[in-house]
């Protein structure tokens, strides 16, 4: 009898053990699967271009300060890595060092002056000496795993110590000792709860809370509790405390925005403060720690008093635990909540730019690799120019006629590098919506004219800058009987105008005549060579810009006009490395000559004239006369699109202003897009545009009306470039006589 009972008990026990073991294996699979999925996906990090410091570098003192702060530098004595000191124009910067794809940039202490927006007196005070040093690049965003798009993932090393200390002090004092559950604290909580007659303490460890977060059911059954405890033990068995803590920091539930939950301290920091976690002050960290207990009950936007009380309690506990001294705690308790007015949902500072980067990367990388392999992506973004561009769009659009419906886009590239330095996709640059810089494909209007004239000027025996053109109306009849009757923007006709003036004043009638004369296919060839995406329309209205392009595409085709006829493919990425700095891709500078340098030089002359005397001259309402610029306005029917594309010695920029619904506006290229362009240019230190005279070009004083060479002191004399051999043969001296050329005194001045 006794024996058989024992046998039954043994069998039941054996069965139970089997079942339990099976259950544990099942739970183990569940919890590790979930944990692995969270733990080992590392988002790609996206960096701005590093600031290069050397004697002669163009940077303003404010720009340098901002750059330092963007890269996480703090103002201080400048003798610890990550700190800088500023004394008027003098800076002492202690760099942290950074592992670039091309090698290590060691930590150094630098001393320099910034005056007149240029670096001088640059020297390395300590560390390996060099005439040029790169700062660490600012991190401008991340590309996150798809199912965790709603996270701003932080790594443990990036989390400020006071936040971790505070969290452990308040939520789990024995985190580093316990094995996943803490029976003692459960007992303590049990006693406290019975004493109080309600739940005042939770006995859960961070590990248990993490498990709870993985399997979001809120019921508090005993079975669930048991499962939770088992899973916690299993997690602790498999993973290190740091792994668990880091995952906890990225998973913990900290609020709700509509139907979207705010998980993780990184996102919570953005959501409540609009700041990166590492930039938070003590009182802000304490608030986040306090909110773990009840994110909606302590919601600082809804219940500021509760949140404040909770925060101060956290600070008090931190002080009691010896983490703060009384003064620190006191100061932090006296701070306001400092919640941001607008919730923000990601840490991508420049969503439109990151959008461009992702599209470039999509050509070479699989989406899931970008999101999970921890790639390091080094972009060409220049934070100072980006800021100038955002400010220009944001401040200028509201001042324009009909502003409430207007949208805008701005692209800035390095004139000779093709690097995309800044990109604005709409009037709210923080909003990751429709990216007009990449996706608004609109007719380019008169922006096409330089290509029409370039095609003509490639034939110096037929066209020069002073070739007289007919500014007179005409009608084109097509085979199918349709008629096309182009006209000038101002509906006027001027009779005869020289070519340079037709371009600088953007006259339609002479342009169409020249375009038809050289042939539409020749103009198409030019556009294609300069990088215009095909197909290009082949009807005559293409000569007035019926071709539709995006602002970035316009920047691409203008690259060849801005340089000496060299197409330079636009790039937003310099390099990509894997998480261990092994290079994966380099995107090199490329140049390709697509037009004769001489012909381009002539077009550049007329585009400079457009700024001085033609349709672009209002730019100098913003900019100093000394800064030479070249550019072209573009306006489409009914002011649907206002364009401006132009360049200085350093920068090429394209601005577009119009309406998303494609309705008309009261704007032109000059009154809509040029103000945005000029406002941006006015904020950036840079060199003026001054092209080198090509070998086959020579400047002459000419009298344009007389089609003759003349002398400087004569009336109406203009100093103009000609492809050698195409200059006029007649000579007009001020006496009024026109004769054959005699070798003028200035010949040979320029070609030795």
């Amino acid at each position: 009898m006794g024996r058989s009972l024992l046998r039954i008990l043994f069998r039941v026990g054996l069965l139970a053990t089997f079942l339990l073991a099976g259950w544990v294996v099942y739970l183990d699979a569940q919890v590790t699967d979930r944990f692995e999925g969270r733990r080992f996906e590392v988002p790609s990090r996206v960096y701005a271009r590093p600031l290069e410091l050397y004697d002669g570098a163009s940077v303003s003192a404010a720009g340098l300060t901002r750059e330092l702060e963007l890269a996480g530098y703090r103002r201080g004595s400048g003798n610890r890595p990550g700190y800088y000191q500023r004394n008027g124009q003098r800076f002492v910067i202690h760099t942290r060092g950074f592992l670039f794809p091309d090698g290590e940039e060691p930590a150094r202490q630098l001393s320099l002056r910034v005056s007149g927006d240029q670096v001088s007196g640059f020297s390395v005070v300590s560390g390996p000496s060099s005439a040029i040093v790169r700062l660490e690049p600012a991190r401008i965003g991340g590309i996150y795993p798809a199912h965790r798009e709603d996270r701003v993932l932080v790594q443990l090393s990036d989390v400020p110590q006071p936040l971790i200390d505070g969290l452990l002090a308040v939520e789990d004092q024995n985190f580093h000792e316990h094995i996943g559950i803490a029976p003692l604290s459960i007992a303590r909580a049990f006693v406290a709860n019975i004493k109080a007659g309600r739940i005042v303490q939770g006995g859960s460890t961070l590990t248990q809370q993490l498990v709870k977060n993985f399997f979001l059911t809120r019921d508090q059954t005993l079975v669930r509790k048991a499962n939770e405890a088992l899973m916690s033990l299993l997690l602790e068995f498999h993973y290190s405390k740091d792994d668990i803590l880091e995952t906890y920091l990225n998973e913990v539930y900290l609020g709700q925005a509509g139907n979207r939950s705010i998980n993780g301290f990184g996102l919570a920091s953005q959501f409540y403060f609009g700041e990166r976690l590492k930039n938070l002050d003590l009182h802000q960290m304490a608030l986040l720690v306090g909110m773990v207990k009840g994110p909606s009950y302590y919601n600082p936007r809804r219940h500021p008093e509760r949140a404040m009380a909770r925060r101060n309690l956290v600070l008090k506990e931190m002080a009691e635990a010896g983490l703060l001294d009384a003064r620190q705690a006191d100061q932090a308790q006296n701070r306001a909540l400092d919640i941001s007015a607008q919730p923000s949902y990601n840490d991508n500072l420049y969503p439109a730019y990151i959008d461009l980067v992702r599209r470039h990367l999509a050509r070479d990388y699989r989406d899931e690799d970008l999101r999970s392999e921890g790639l390091r992506i080094f972009t060409t973004l220049d934070p100072a120019i980006q800021q100038a561009s955002e400010t220009a769009v944001r401040d200028t659009l509201p001042k324009l006629v009909g502003s409430e419906h207007l949208e805008g886009a701005l692209v800035v590239t390095g004139k000779d590098s093709g690097e995309v330095l800044a990109l604005v996709g709409g009037r709210d640059p923080r909003f990751a919506g429709f990216n007009r810089a990449l996706d608004a494909r609109r007719p380019i209007g008169s922006l096409v004219k330089p290509f029409v004239y370039l095609t003509a000027l490639k034939q110096p025996e037929r066209y020069t800058l002073i070739t007289p053109l007919q500014d007179k109306g005409f009608v084109l009849e097509f085979d199918d009987g349709r008629r096309w009757q182009p006209s000038n923007y101002d509906e006027e006709e001027r009779g005869e105008v020289p070519l340079h003036r037709a371009l600088s004043h953007s006259l339609n009638l002479p342009t169409v005549r020249v375009g038809l004369d050289v042939g539409i296919p020749a103009v198409q060839d030019t556009l294609r060579a300069f990088g215009a995406p095909t197909p290009i329309p082949d009807y005559p209205s293409v000569l007035l810009g019926s071709l539709s392009l995006t602002p970035v595409e316009v920047a691409q085709i203008y690259q060849g006009l801005a340089t000496s006829g060299f197409n330079t493919p636009l790039r937003s990425i310099r390099e990509v490395t894997d998480a261990n700095n092994q290079p994966l891709s380099r995107y090199s500078l490329k140049v390709e000559q697509v037009a004769d340098n001489g012909a381009v030089h002539l077009v550049q002359y007329a585009m400079q004239e457009a700024m001085r005397e033609g349709t672009g001259r209002s730019a100098y309402n913003w900019l100093p006369e000394q800064l030479s610029l070249a550019g072209k306005t573009g306006t489409t029917d009914d002011g649907r699109d206002a364009w401006f594309a132009g360049f200085s010695g350093d920068l090429l920029a394209v601005a577009w202003v119009g309406r998303d619904d494609n309705r008309g506006t009261a704007l032109t290229g000059a009154s809509g897009a040029l103000p945005v362009w000029s406002e941006m240019m006015a904020r950036v230190p840079q060199y003026g545009f001054s092209p080198v005279v090509p070998d086959d070009v020579q400047y002459h004083w000419v009298n344009v009306g007389k089609q003759a060479l003349t002398e400087e002191h004569c009336p109406d004399a203009r100093f103009m470039p000609f492809i050698i051999g195409s200059e006029p043969e007649d000579i007009y001296d001020c006496g009024g006589a026109v004769g054959r050329e005699i070798r003028s005194w200035f010949e040979g001045l320029f070609n030795e």
Partner: protein, 190 residues
């Protein structure tokens, strides 16, 4: 011709071209935004914790280079030659040379592209890029960078000569005998 020979010759030409250049600051005068210090303050992120700097004098620096025939303002601008190499760019070019000697052309290209960003209007940088591409075996890019360098050489006969001779060698190596002869003629005519 063997590409190593071209590379060596290229290096020689370019060192000739580089000899005697290097100025502290490249180019002519730089535009300084009006009140740039205060205007940037109304911008949003990143937070600015520093106080505004004392107003800096609005100055126009002229380089140490001889003045080019600059037409008076308000008329289109041009000049007779590209920028001189600033010291910092020269440092990077020397670094690139060390990479090239070790046979690390990608390392050299990285440094040269940094130099290009600092001195985008200096012809020497492009000739040096051309040299690195010769060593890499990419003669197409080498030719294009040589042409780009030449387009900025202007009246600088030393750079012109180096560029045309380099171009002649590259073209010959690519089998373009006529183009090579043409380039040599240009060099000889200087």
């Amino acid at each position: 011709m063997n590409k190593h020979v071209i590379a060596r010759l290229g290096a020689l030409f370019i060192m000739l071209a580089l000899a005697g250049c290097a100025s502290r600051m490249g180019g002519e005068s730089i535009y300084v935004p009006m009140g740039g210090e205060t205007r940037t303050q109304d911008a949003p992120a990143p937070p600015q914790t520093s106080e505004p700097a004392p107003e800096e004098p609005q100055v126009w620096r002229k380089s140490e280079q001889p003045e080019t025939t600059e037409p008076e303002t308000r008329t289109p601008s041009y000049r007779e030659s590209g920028d001189q190499l600033p010291e910092a760019a020269l440092t990077l070019i020397r670094d690139a040379d060390q990479y090239l000697q070790r046979g690390d052309t990608d390392g050299a290209l990285s440094q040269l592209e940094r130099a290009q960003r600092i001195a985008p209007r200096s012809p020497e940088v492009y000739l040096k890029l051309a040299q690195a591409y010769v060593q890499k075996g990419n003669l197409d890019s080498a030719e294009q960078f040589t042409l780009k360098g030449l387009s900025l050489a202007g009246s600088n006969a030393r750079v012109q000569r180096a560029g045309w001779l380099l171009l002649a060698d590259i073209r010959r190596a690519r089998g373009n005998v006529a183009g090579a002869a043409q380039a040599e003629e240009r060099a000889a005519a200087l």
